[in-house]
């Protein structure tokens, strides 16, 4: 078994933390892991990509185009920017809260509507799950737990190889003690949303 996850977002959104949670859960599950992260200049509000590969006979930290079984996008435009990482059968989980880059304010481009972004994603892949992670995080108690929502969401994706409990355990190891309850709530809200969508699908 080999399973590849591409995580994308904007520097400062917690993409790195989420990928570490995935990797930690996989090691705890006794699987091999190879990951690649982005540190340094790109973290200053730029596009950020991380890859996590888990399973057996895993060596490469990077994923070829079309090779991601799951694309987790923390920001809708960034999800679309990296959509070529997936194939027709992959799953895409994307947050729907936009972060408009400064380039738009200085006239270097326009930010499309989130509906257009979702439509573009759905035009090439039928397994797009849109999650309003920010709204669910606020429901959980704090906007900052949006990444816990997304981690919970992928744990519910069909074919995702790591058990829900392992994912939650790895998440809770990575957050401060005082934030355990709120992150648990956020994780469960994300999980529940994908379970509901799967039921409808």
């Amino acid at each position: 078994m080999k399973y590849s996850v591409q995580l994308v977002g904007v520097g400062g959104q917690g993409v790195l933390l989420a990928s570490t949670v995935l990797g930690t859960a996989a090691v705890a599950e006794g699987l091999e892991v190879a990951m690649s992260e982005v540190h340094g200049m790109a973290q200053r509000g730029g596009s950020v990509q991380c890859s996590v590969r888990i399973g057996q006979d895993i060596l490469s930290p990077l994923i070829p185009k079309g090779g991601a079984d799951l694309l987790l996008g923390f920001e809708p435009a960034e999800t679309l920017r990296s959509v070529a990482m997936v194939n027709r059968d992959s799953t895409i989980v994307t947050n729907v809260s936009p972060i408009v880059p400064v380039s738009v304010a200085v006239g270097q481009g326009t930010y499309p509507s989130v509906d257009d972004i979702l439509a573009a994603l759905r035009s090439v892949n039928e397994h797009v799950i849109a999650v309003d992670a920010t709204a669910l995080a606020i429901e959980a108690g704090r906007a900052i737990t949006a990444n816990a929502v997304l981690i919970g969401a992928i744990a519910a994706v069909k074919g995702f190889p790591l058990p829900k409990d392992r994912m939650l355990e790895a998440l809770l190891q990575a957050v401060p003690q005082k934030a355990v309850d709120i992150n648990t709530r956020a994780f469960e809200l994300g999980y529940a949303q994908v379970v509901t969508e799967r039921g409808q699908g």
Partner: protein, 604 residues
């Protein structure tokens, strides 16, 4: 990070964590660095762990000093480690290339962390040539686990050969993550004794000639070790051969099939007999390495020298790129010359255009205010902006565009002198506090000495921000049980002979414009120290005092000066209105100061 001090177990480690663990397992007594991505995390870890591991660690003022400090430790019998990004080795090379002739007594390893594709660098540079230049044995890991193993092997080799060993990594090894089984961690020997031996360590020409002969002989011994090394091994059996190193080896393993792979981990000197045996009987050999055709040329050389006739494909034949890092896709692109394992086809990229998202100065970054003020003071006639290496290089982006030349650490002040000498344009140089200490002081003295006329702005954010907020001489030291006071900039600048020096807080934009105008009017070198702590660093320390700003939509005339001239990422246009993202805004008040209608106000 306490887990890195454990005496056993299996951990998911970042390449740089694995390397740090290797240092602990190797009993390294002294480590020194100047921060640089992709090597920086090693320093951040040692800052915390070194004292508990019985190791001395320092942020040296620059990479050359780091190698000198580590070199002295190694000739005194203490295992040492100096580490830096690829361009850092350019700075350190002067010291390292002579240490390569004197050799060392205890193990010394120098890590050069190369950055193919320039993720966080001003250039792509293949530092394997430093091994060739200094006849320094070199190891190249492919994964985090192998990086830890190679740290241990590098110390063994360094002591067998009595010479520093180069550990050459790349971004996709330093910033890869994988499982590592921990070994026993001994107590290091942090104190040694220097026994004098001037014939070896004082490199006057007569001694240097003897050392050169010794260096050549040592390289022959290194070659025998490379031939015997288990870091150079063969996998599989086929008439189609692949020679692979670094992270490219992991791609070859997963996306090629039915090939015989010669994996090279000990890459200077290359194991020529092993390579010649590998080449014999092959129908075709493809060399997979990032960067320059370093191994490829060695393979061709060995084929010629050992009389093996074989087709060798790589960068020289146009089958593989010389620029930028490799990826699984590059390996899959070799389908016409090697059997590959293709995966499912990627979906097509939809045509919806997306705005670019390059990295930008953060919300509340004091550099933004400094640049805004500098441009205001310079006025419409403009200036040449000679800039330097750090977060502030991001000032190149519109609308600030305060960057016209960036070469290397410290180049802002040196190049400003040249511009001032040959043009009649105004010249403004920007340099960060840490960069100024690193290599900005000699060019400032040069400017005074040769009477160049320009303004040097020291962007003093009280930290080394870009690489993760490491301390520097301007902040003083508070780690590893050693405390030193800050070295203040203004007296230092005056001592360099600069007569006009002013310190301002860039959050006060009017005062900064005033200081810049005065400096621009000065006949000679003028220095403005724009001092305000990096808000990201303050937040990490839990000391950031935030305020909240809001737009008074009645007073706002939708001129968008704040958005389009000040360009803080917390500000955006929404229809006819300006919106402040409350989660991003830290309340620096810069936008309120640039608003011509005073429509942006602090929320009480």
């Amino acid at each position: 990070m306490d887990k890195l001090l454990a005496d056993g177990g299996r951990l998911l480690l970042l390449g740089n964590e694995a390397i740090t663990r290797g240092l602990i397992e190797a009993g390294v007594g002294l480590a020194a660095t100047y921060p640089g991505t992709p090597s920086s995390e090693v320093g951040a870890l040692l800052e915390e762990l070194a004292p508990r591991a019985g190791m001395y660690f320092e942020y040296s003022v620059n990479e050359k000093v780091a190698v000198e400090v580590a070199g002295a430790a190694a000739v005194s019998g203490v295992r040492s480690f100096a580490f830096m990004k690829h361009v850092g080795l350019n700075v350190a090379s002067d010291a390292l290339l002579t240490l390569a002739t004197t050799g060392v007594r205890a193990g010394m390893v120098v890590m050069t962390a190369d950055d193919p594709s320039c993720h966080s660098s001003q250039s792509e540079q293949d530092n394997r040539f430093y091994a060739k230049l200094g006849l320094l044995p070199m190891l190249e890991p492919s994964t985090p686990a192998e990086a830890r193993d190679m740290v241990l092997e590098a110390y063994r080799l360094s002591e067998l050969l009595a010479v520093p060993v180069l550990l050459r990594t790349t971004t996709r090894v330093n910033h890869a993550r994988g499982a590592v089984d921990l070994h026993h961690a001994p107590k290091p020997q942090a104190k040694g004794r220097f026994d004098k031996d001037p014939q070896r360590f004082v490199t006057v020409p007569a001694h240097a000639r003897a050392l050169r002969l010794e260096q050549v002989k040592r390289t022959e011994r290194a070659l025998r070790l490379s031939e015997a090394s288990t870091l150079n091994f063969v996998l599989g059996s086929s008439r189609l051969g692949v020679v692979a190193s670094g992270v490219a080896y992991t791609y070859a393993r997963e996306w090629l099939k039915d090939v015989e792979i010669l994996k090279l981990g000990f890459t200077y000197p290359v194991p020529e007999e092993k390579i010649s045996r590998f080449l014999q009987g092959k129908e075709r050999v493809v060399v997979l390495e990032e960067g320059e055709p370093y191994l490829e040329d060695e393979v061709r050389r060995v084929a010629q020298q050992y009389g093996v006739v074989v087709e060798v494909l790589g960068k020289r034949t146009g089958h593989l790129p010389r620029a930028f890092e490799y990826s699984p896709d590059i390996i899959l692109g070799l389908q016409n010359v090697l059997p590959v394992r293709p995966g499912p086809a990627p979906v097509p990229q939809p045509e919806l255009p997306l705005p670019p998202r390059p990295p930008v100065l953060c919300a509340g970054c004091p550099h933004r205010a400094t640049y805004y003020a500098a441009k205001k003071a310079v006025g419409p006639e403009g200036a040449i902006y000679s800039t330097d290496i750090g977060c502030y290089t991001l000032g190149v982006q519109p609308p600030l565009q305060c960057a016209d030349l960036t070469l290397c650490m410290g180049s802002s002040a040196g190049a400003a002198g040249g511009f001032a000498q040959v043009t009649d344009q105004k010249v403004v140089a920007f340099i960060g506090d840490s960069t100024f200490f690193h290599s900005g002081i000699p060019p400032l003295i040069n400017a005074v000495y040769n009477r160049h006329r320009f303004v040097l702005v020291i962007l003093d954010n009280r930290t080394t921000a870009m690489t993760g907020h490491q301390p520097n001489p301007g902040t003083g030291r508070e780690h590893g049980g050693i405390e030193t006071p800050s070295i203040p900039l203004e007296p230092l600048v005056r001592a360099c002979g600069v007569e006009h020096v002013r310190t301002v807080d860039p959050y006060d934009i009017a005062a900064t414009i005033g200081a810049m105008k005065e400096a621009l009017a000065h006949d000679g070198v003028a220095v403005v120290v724009a001092e305000h702590p990096c808000p990201l660093a303050r937040r990490k320390e839990g000391k950031l005092v935030r305020a909240q700003y809001r737009i008074d939509q009645d007073r706002c005339v939708s001129c968008f000066t704040c958005v389009s001239r000040f360009s803080c990422p917390a500000l955006s246009k929404e229809g006819k209105e300006v919106r402040i993202d409350a989660t991003m805004c830290i309340g620096c008040g810069g936008c309120a100061q640039v608003c011509p209608k005073k429509a942006i106000e602090v929320v009480e």
